[in-house]
Symmetry: C2
Subunit: 75 residues, 2 copies
């Protein structure tokens, strides 16, 4: 059993890039995604830039708006 | 484009059950997982009971401690 002292290698940026990629594949804007998922547009923007430590509930909201399993956003 | 007003169907409980399942598969206790991932044991316990809206950074910490991709915890 080893104690982890390594900070995760920027999971927020990785998530943000992935979200932006999946959103663009569907041809929708940050504003549209925000509207569909019920979060603020500035929040979507911050998440995509890797500046927000998004919570599981909001990950789920975004995934549902994109009609994708939440796990897909973390791949 | 449809606006979602549907709350996610308990993603916290689903995540908690999944985490407990994966943790037990590896034969480790909540306390060991907490130690390895650098979070409090009471936090692991709360997450497994679906009482915490876990953030992406902590999802990543738990996944790294379990040596699994973070996406696996959301499946």
């Amino acid at each position: 059993m080893k104690k982890s002292s390594i900070p995760p290698k920027d999971p927020l940026q990785a998530f943000g890039r992935r979200l932006a990629e999946l959103r663009k594949e569907q041809g929708i804007s940050q504003e549209q995604l925000a509207y569909m998922s019920g979060v603020a547009r500035s929040y979507v923007s911050g998440v995509e830039r890797g500046q927000r430590n998004i919570s599981l509930i909001n990950i789920t909201r975004l995934a549902e708006a994109l009609q994708l399993p939440a796990s897909k956003l973390l791949e």
